[in-house]
Structure formats: structure tokens, C-alpha cells
């Protein structure tokens, strides 16, 4: 690389990291925070004995998983205004991403709940617990342990998917890189630099996943 390129790489680093800190990271965190309650609610709907609820939950998962995230994002941001509903870039992105997390997360949560042995439900009923309390005190804590690895996948995917928000004008990591690239015409350099920053974020998350699994593992003997 020429000295000029080094200069560009260094001087573009802060705008890109700033895009990550002010765009990518808060976007991913807030979408996940909104999406997980949706995921748990949809999982419980799918597990419900009431056919209406179960089908509603199934339909939601099917739509979310069966349509591209980019299309969902465009429907919310560019589509809804034609119906008179105008939503700013940030809330649009959070709506689309959290629904997406809700759909994928619901399947993870549902599988995790089903992985808790039936005897745990029975033991809780037998000491007099209600259904709701059994769920919150006995079943979900055990399901949480099981769902950490697959939910970490969901979260890491989400972090990368937030780059799509650049297409609805959210100023995040990738949009910063794009703007500098267009200005300097150094596409390879800037896009590889953006890729490296995404990768570093995901490395950090993987380390966090390991620590969380260890913490949740403290009661199990293998």
C-alpha cells in the first residue's frame, strides 16, 4: 500500500468506528431488546393449546422467515409512506430488525422451551405452581441456557444485517465507509476496512457468548 493509502485508512478509521458506535451497535442492541420479548411472546403463542394463537404465531414466523429482510425494511420505510404512514429511518430500521429477531428468535425460544423435560413442569405443578409461574421460575431459566448459542447467532447476524439500514439512510458503519469510498474512490480499501471492523465487533460478541455460557453453566456438571 502506498503512504497515501495508509493515511486514508487511518483517517477514515474514526468515522467508521464512530458509525459503528453511534449507528451499528445501538441499532443492533435496541432491535434485539425489542425483538426478544416479541420472540418469547410468539414462541408461547406457537406452543399454546389454542389453535388461533398457535396459528397466528406460526403465520408471523412464516412471513418473517419467508421474506427478505431488505424487502421488509423497504416496505416499512418506502412503502408505508404511500399509505400516509411516514416513519423516520431509525425507527423504521428498529421496527424491521426487531420483527426479524422476533421471527427467528421465536423458533429458538420454542425449541429451548421444548427441550426442558416434562418432569420439570410436573414437579412445579406438584408443588402448587401456576402455569405462568412455572414458566418464569422453572422453565424459562433452563431454556435460557439452551438458547444462548443459537440466540448469539441471531444477534451476530443482526449486527451484520444492520448494514442494510444504510439503504434507508441510517448513518451507520457501512454508510460511513460508502461515503468516504465515493469521495476518495478507494472502494477496495474502505470496504475491506468496514469488513474488518464488523469482524472485530463479532469477535467481541463471540467472546461475550463464551463468558455468558460459562456463567449459565455454573450449576451443571459435565
Amino acid at each position: 500500500m502506498s503512504p497515501d493509502n495508509w493515511d486514508l485508512a487511518l483517517s477514515s478509521l474514526w468515522p467508521i468506528i464512530s458509525g459503528a458506535l453511534r449507528g451499528t451497535v445501538p441499532l443492533a442492541l435496541s432491535s434485539f431488546a425489542v425483538g426478544m420479548p416479541i420472540a418469547i411472546a410468539v414462541a408461547l403463542m406457537r406452543l399454546s393449546r389454542r389453535a388461533v394463537l398457535s396459528r397466528l404465531g406460526g403465520g408471523f414466523v412464516s412471513v418473517v422467515r419467508g421474506t427478505p429482510l431488505l424487502v421488509q425494511l423497504f416496505v416499512v420505510f418506502y412503502g408505508l409512506p404511500s399509505m400516509g404512514i411516514v416513519i423516520d429511518p431509525w425507527p423504521s430500521a428498529i421496527i424491521a430488525f426487531s420483527l426479524n429477531v422476533g421471527g427467528y428468535g421465536a423458533e429458538v425460544v420454542r425449541a429451548a422451551i421444548l427441550s426442558v423435560p416434562r418432569g420439570q413442569w410436573e414437579a412445579a405443578y406438584v408443588i402448587g405452581m401456576s402455569h405462568g409461574r412455572t414458566l418464569t421460575r422453572i422453565i424459562l431459566p433452563q431454556a435460557a441456557r439452551v438458547s444462548v448459542p443459537p440466540l448469539s447467532n441471531t444477534f451476530i447476524s443482526l449486527v451484520k444485517d444492520t448494514s442494510l439500514a444504510s439503504l434507508i439512510l441510517v448513518s451507520e458503519l457501512f454508510r460511513q465507509a460508502q461515503q468516504i469510498a465515493a469521495f476518495s474512490q478507494q472502494f477496495m480499501l474502505l470496504y475491506v476496512e468496514a469488513a474488518v471492523v464488523y469482524w472485530l465487533i463479532c469477535l467481541t460478541l463471540s467472546a461475550g457468548q463464551g463468558a455468558l455460557e460459562k456463567r449459565l453453566d455454573r450449576y451443571a456438571i459435565h
Binding site: 410436573e122 414437579a123 402448587g128 409461574r133 431459566p141 433452563q142
Partner: protein, 264 residues
């Protein structure tokens, strides 16, 4: 009992803790209970024996509403009546369930909670008793079964026998009117069976009312006051163990006892 142990439920009357009348239960088109009558006397240890698939576990689970019978009635000593043909509500089933506590074949301890947390979960969270009192009672019970030093351990670090002792303490801590045991020693290594049966014998001597589904004829003979033999969803015969196990009246009982004693 020692003074620190939770008190036994008061004897309200001489009536049976539970009287079961004509209980029927099918799984789909398969009849599992075909009209079971049973009377569980206060302070009595009732052993239910029978082959696998005979309906004995289903019968036990009908006593606390884990299975809901299709028809038949259960009457409690205080006169409360549960009529299954009338499809009891969830609240009614809870009242039936609250009368007993159950010890499971596979212990079913809560793996994410410590031994002490397992024991106080019911008294504190469900029965809303004072946490301090519940902990004191739990510690006394754990001491009594030799697990006082394990209160902060998680179930996965305990042996099968230790886990089942915790399971029994968890049941006792609820102060139920009766204890239900579903093959409590079947999942244990043979050398650990004795410690659980010994503990159950102590409970019987303390005066607990117990219904025990079991394969342990020895236990039925030495601890139970009453044995019921169930086959194809019916109680074929019941009576004191000496009579039922030594001189059964029915051919089916004779064959079953013979098979258990001479498995080869």
C-alpha cells in the same frame, strides 16, 4: 419427630384422607383405569403394585391431578368432593393437588436451583410462608436426611440417592396431607435403594400417610400396612401385605408375585 421438624397435618377426623370412587381414565381409545375404588386411611402406607402398563402410575397421578380422570370421584377427609365427570376447573384441580406432594422416579429436581432453593420454592413462592421459617424448616429436614452440608450444592453434583432424598425433603416441606411416591427407587443404582427405603420407613413410623407405587416387594411387605394389586386398570385385590403377598386369592395376583420373586 424432632421438635424442629414441620408438624404433621392435624388429624381432623377418622375419615380417609382420600376416598377414590370408580375412577375411569382412557388415553385415546385405550382404557387405562377401569373403575378404581380406593381408600387411603390417615397414617397408612399403601403400596400399589402391578406390572408396567397396568395403570398404577396413572392411578397415582390421578390422585393429584397430573392426569385428569374421565369420570369417577375423589372425596377428601374434610368432605370436599372432586367429581371428574363434571370436569373440575383448574382451581378445583389445584385444591386437589395442594393436598398431596409427590416424589418422582427421576427426582425432577430443579437443576438451576440449589438444594435449599429446591426445598423452599414451594413453601415460600407458592404457599407464601415466611422465608426465614421455611429456610429453618428446610435445614432441619435436610439435616435429618444427612444432607445438611449440601444445601448450597446444585442437584447435578449429587448422587442419585442424594437427589432422591432432596426430592423427598422438597415434598415434606410442603406439609402435605399425604405423600405420593412414583417408583421412588427404580432409577437408583441397587446399592442406593436401601437408603431411600430406609428413609421412607422412618417417614411411615413418623405417621405420614403415603401412597407408594413400587416394584419393591420387600418394602411392600415390611413397611406397607396395605397393598393393592392393580392389573389392566382394575384393582384385582387388596389387603394386608402378609395376606396379599403370601396367600393371594386371585390367580393374576399369584402369577405377578411369583414373577417378581422368581424373575428367571
Amino acid at each position: 419427630m424432632r421438635s424442629t421438624d414441620p408438624p404433621l397435618p392435624p388429624t381432623t377426623s377418622g375419615r380417609p384422607v382420600l376416598s377414590v370412587d370408580s375412577l375411569h381414565k382412557s388415553f385415546g381409545s385405550l382404557p387405562v383405569l377401569r373403575g378404581v375404588d380406593l381408600s387411603i386411611e390417615r397414617g397408612q402406607v399403601l403400596a400399589i403394585i402391578g406390572a408396567s402398563g397396568s395403570g398404577k402410575t396413572t392411578l397415582l397421578r390421578c390422585l393429584n391431578g397430573l392426569e385428569i380422570a374421565d369420570s369417577g370421584r375423589i372425596e377428601a377427609a374434610d368432605g370436599e368432593l372432586f367429581d371428574f365427570a363434571a370436569r373440575p376447573s383448574r382451581t378445583e384441580l389445584n385444591r386437589l393437588r395442594d393436598r398431596s406432594a409427590m416424589v418422582f422416579q427421576h427426582y425432577n429436581l430443579f437443576p438451576h436451583k440449589t438444594v435449599l432453593e429446591n426445598v423452599i420454592e414451594g413453601p415460600v413462592v407458592v404457599q407464601r410462608r415466611s422465608r426465614v421459617v421455611a429456610i429453618a424448616e428446610a435445614r432441619a429436614l435436610l439435616d435429618r436426611v444427612g444432607l445438611g452440608a449440601k444445601e448450597s450444592s446444585h442437584p447435578a453434583s449429587l448422587s442419585g440417592g442424594q437427589q432422591q432424598r432432596v426430592g423427598i425433603v422438597r415434598a415434606l416441606a410442603l406439609r402435605p396431607e399425604l405423600l405420593l411416591f412414583d417408583e421412588p427407587t427404580s432409577a437408583l443404582d441397587p446399592e442406593l435403594v436401601g437408603e431411600i427405603l430406609g428413609l421412607m420407613r422412618d417417614l411411615a413410623q413418623d405417621g405420614w400417610t403415603m401412597v407408594v407405587v413400587t416394584h419393591e416387594l420387600q418394602f411392600a411387605r415390611e413397611v406397607a400396612q396395605h397393598v393393592a394389586f392393580i392389573d389392566e386398570g382394575e384393582i384385582v385385590e387388596h389387603g394386608p401385605p402378609a395376606q396379599l403377598l403370601r396367600q393371594p386369592e386371585h390367580e393374576r395376583t399369584r402369577q405377578f408375585v411369583h414373577r417378581l420373586l422368581h424373575p428367571m
